[in-house]
């Protein structure tokens, strides 16, 4: 009700800004990170970063973008998915051992792998929504299960991804993966206005009120986790395509980094607020920070230190700006 009564007094641009403070901040951080990256690159390499840098950045960020979208769907319902890394592990391992030379067979396996992700997400969703268990505990337990299965599937790093498959998903020659980033953004904009998208955000805002308004809360939660599983699986597939082989443990990091991308993207961890587009930006900010640290010749051993500090600073900044704008509006 508040926006209606106050809309006469506060200008529209400020209202839009307040509503999308997280997104605006994510854009600001990405611009700042890009400027810092170009500056550091110029200072150390004595030329501007070119197509190769763009291609490798996009290819390296794609798995995080997808894992971040998976995390966003769950976080929006006021949950948290710690099993993202486990699903990435499992699907990465399955991708590496199943793909072959036949395109038809590869297409079939790709669908099957996405279904494996959906099954993992469905398990989480059922335990959370029907079992009425805490998301953080459920996904901590299923993380352990998925990691175990991944090692069972691929005990040693190996397997192989055909060249054509890599060229399609993570083309090393040109930044064609940017297409997938744009596709995800468009899909999100459509999803955001779909019945399920609206339900997910409503459930995250207030589950009881949603129930009272006829939203099927359980079904919405289950679908959010299942869809999250599909995106985590896609992250596993892209990871395998980009590294052209599989490893049952490299996916582990995506549990943490997906949360980082979500937070940097301005998605509210308490549910109901945020956009996957913010998360996508957050994923790129994360990669750019690693790039800046790399080209600034910072000892890689300190990398997590700076990332941790940056995460705290970003959350404080987002909170501060939100409060500042909120107070005036």
């Amino acid at each position: 009700m508040a926006p209606l009564s106050s809309s006469r007094r506060t200008p529209l641009w400020r209202h839009v800004l307040v509503q999308n403070a997280g997104l605006v901040l994510a854009v600001g951080m990405l611009v700042a990170a890009l400027v810092a990256y170009v500056a550091v690159y110029l200072a150390t390499q004595h030329r501007l970063p070119g197509g190769f840098e763009l291609t490798s950045t996009v290819n390296n960020t794609m798995p995080l973008v997808l894992a971040g979208v998976a995390q966003t769907l769950v976080v929006l319902t006021r949950g948290l998915d710690l099993s993202v890394g486990g699903v990435v592990d499992l699907t990465n391992a399955v991708t590496a051992i199943t793909l072959g030379d036949s395109p038809a067979r590869n297409a079939l396996w790709t669908v099957l792998i996405l279904l494996i992700g959906a099954a993992c997400g469905l398990l989480n969703g059922l335990l959370v929504a029907v079992g009425r268990l805490q998301p953080i505990l459920v996904t901590l337990a299923t993380l352990s299960i998925f990691q175990g299965l991944a090692v069972r599937v691929l005990p040693q790093p190996g397997g192989q991804v055909p060249e054509g498959y890599t060229a399609l998903l993570a083309n090393p020659a040109a930044p064609t993966s940017l297409f997938y980033v744009l596709l995800l953004a468009v899909l999100w904009l459509l999803f955001r206005r779909s019945r399920l998208g609206i339900d997910i955000i409503a459930v995250g805002n207030d589950a009881q009120a949603s129930e009272a308004h006829g939203i099927r809360v359980r079904r919405t939660r289950i679908l959010a986790y299942t869809l999250g599983g599909v995106f985590s699986a896609a992250a596993g597939i892209f990871l395998a395509a980009n590294s052209t082989a599989g490893d049952a443990t490299t996916g582990n990091t995506y549990t943490l980094t997906s949360i980082v991308a979500v937070v940097l993207g301005g998605v509210n961890l308490f549910g109901g607020r945020g956009s996957a587009i913010g998360t996508i930006l957050g994923a790129f900010v994360t990669t750019m920070i690693v790039n800046v640290l790399f080209f600034a010749h910072i000892d890689p051993l300190y990398q997590n230190f700076y990332e941790g500090l940056f995460l705290v600073a970003a959350v404080l900044l987002a909170g501060g700006i939100g409060r500042l704008l909120g107070r005036r509006a």
Binding site: G131, R132, Q134, I136, G148, F305, L311
Partner: protein
């Protein structure tokens, strides 16, 4: 469902009447059952010596779980445990350089470091309003980066130092036939239980966990209590780090990694409510023993690591579902 409930003797109701107390009992029964199963699988598993070994390993989990209990009781969580523990182990070895006369100072320094890191977590969460998951996650990264960077990836000249003999002895020696490590754990159990149940601080903790806003309106210092609780969590993670480096002799990278999952699992198995306000440390103690006994049984079965990882997750889910059903009853 209450109509189907069997009437229980009065003494049983008075002692085990509350849900969270019953869960302590369940965790204890689960631990005993695991020892029985283990003995069937591999005779001698339930021998005194083997039980003692399981308890000593469980004490490391139990120490971390003490800190985790404190923060979970106010609805928080501490994800910075792995690298606070690891940093503590390395700090103890590098600051004492294996000398007994440096041991007291090194232990004090290490525990102080743990408490300080925990207090920083608490300040970020309680005063600056950062979600606990994000703050402690970031702190884990910060501690990892600092530890790796300052020790040059554990290749520094003092990094190969052993823990002082006194600390090693404390982790291995026996007093009156009981391992000193278990006596330390018993002392921690006593102190933590008294702190939580008999002091104003403990009462405040439960009150904040049940309703932070109401606690604030009732005049409790919510912020200071929260900061202190996170400080305690850091302190206990550091204590576990000292115990581990004493037990193993030298520090290594990654020794803290298993303790995040295990400490949270132990607390949950022990019936501490993850959203705060309900539960006892004694539950987490039996949770730790159950967990370590389970790992030991699976290892006795020659279960490969991936199998253990899967069974581990399945059992925690089953326990959660079991507890969840019970909560639905009351």
């Amino acid at each position: 469902m209450s109509g189907a409930r069997v009437s229980r003797p009065a003494w049983f109701e008075s002692v085990w009447g509350s849900t969270e107390r019953r869960r302590i009992l369940y965790a204890a029964i689960a631990a005993v059952l695991l020892f029985v199963v283990g003995d069937l699988v591999r005779p001698g598993f339930a021998s005194l010596r083997s039980i003692e070994a399981v308890l000593v390993v469980a004490s490391f989990v139990g120490l971390v779980a003490a800190g985790q209990t404190f923060v979970i009781l106010i609805g928080g969580i501490d994800l910075s445990v792995p690298w606070v523990l690891n940093a503590a182990a390395i700090l103890l070895a590098t600051s004492s350089l294996g000398h007994n006369d440096r041991a007291p100072l090194a232990v004090a320094l290490t525990l102080g470091m743990g408490a300080l890191v925990g207090i920083c977590n608490g300040i970020g969460i309680a005063l600056l309003g950062i979600p606990a998951v994000v703050m402690t996650l970031a702190m884990n990264g910060i501690m990892e980066g600092l530890t790796l960077g300052l020790s040059s990836g554990l290749t520094c000249s003092s990094c190969a130092s052993y823990a002082p003999p006194v600390v090693q002895a404390a982790a291995h020696a026996r007093l009156l036939g009981i391992p000193v490590m278990l006596l330390i754990w018993l002392a921690v159990i006593a102190v933590v239980s008294v702190l939580l149940t008999l002091t104003r601080f403990g009462r405040s903790t439960y009150a904040i966990g049940n309703n932070a806003r109401a606690s604030f309106l009732a005049g409790l210092n919510v912020e200071a209590t929260s900061v202190a609780l996170y400080g305690l969590s850091g302190f206990f993670a550091a204590l576990a780090g000292i115990a581990l480096v004493g037990f193993g002799g030298q520090a290594s990278l990654g020794i803290g990694d298993p303790y995040l999952f295990q400490s949270i699992a132990a607390v949950v198995i022990g019936g501490v409510y993850i959203l705060g306000g309900r539960g006892h440390y004694l539950g987490a103690v039996f949770g730790s023993i159950t967990l370590v006994a389970l790992i030991s049984v699976l290892m006795a079965l020659n279960m490969p690591e991936y199998g253990r990882s899967i069974i581990y997750g399945v059992i925690i889910l089953l326990l959660l579902l079991l507890y969840g059903r019970e909560a639905g009853e009351s």
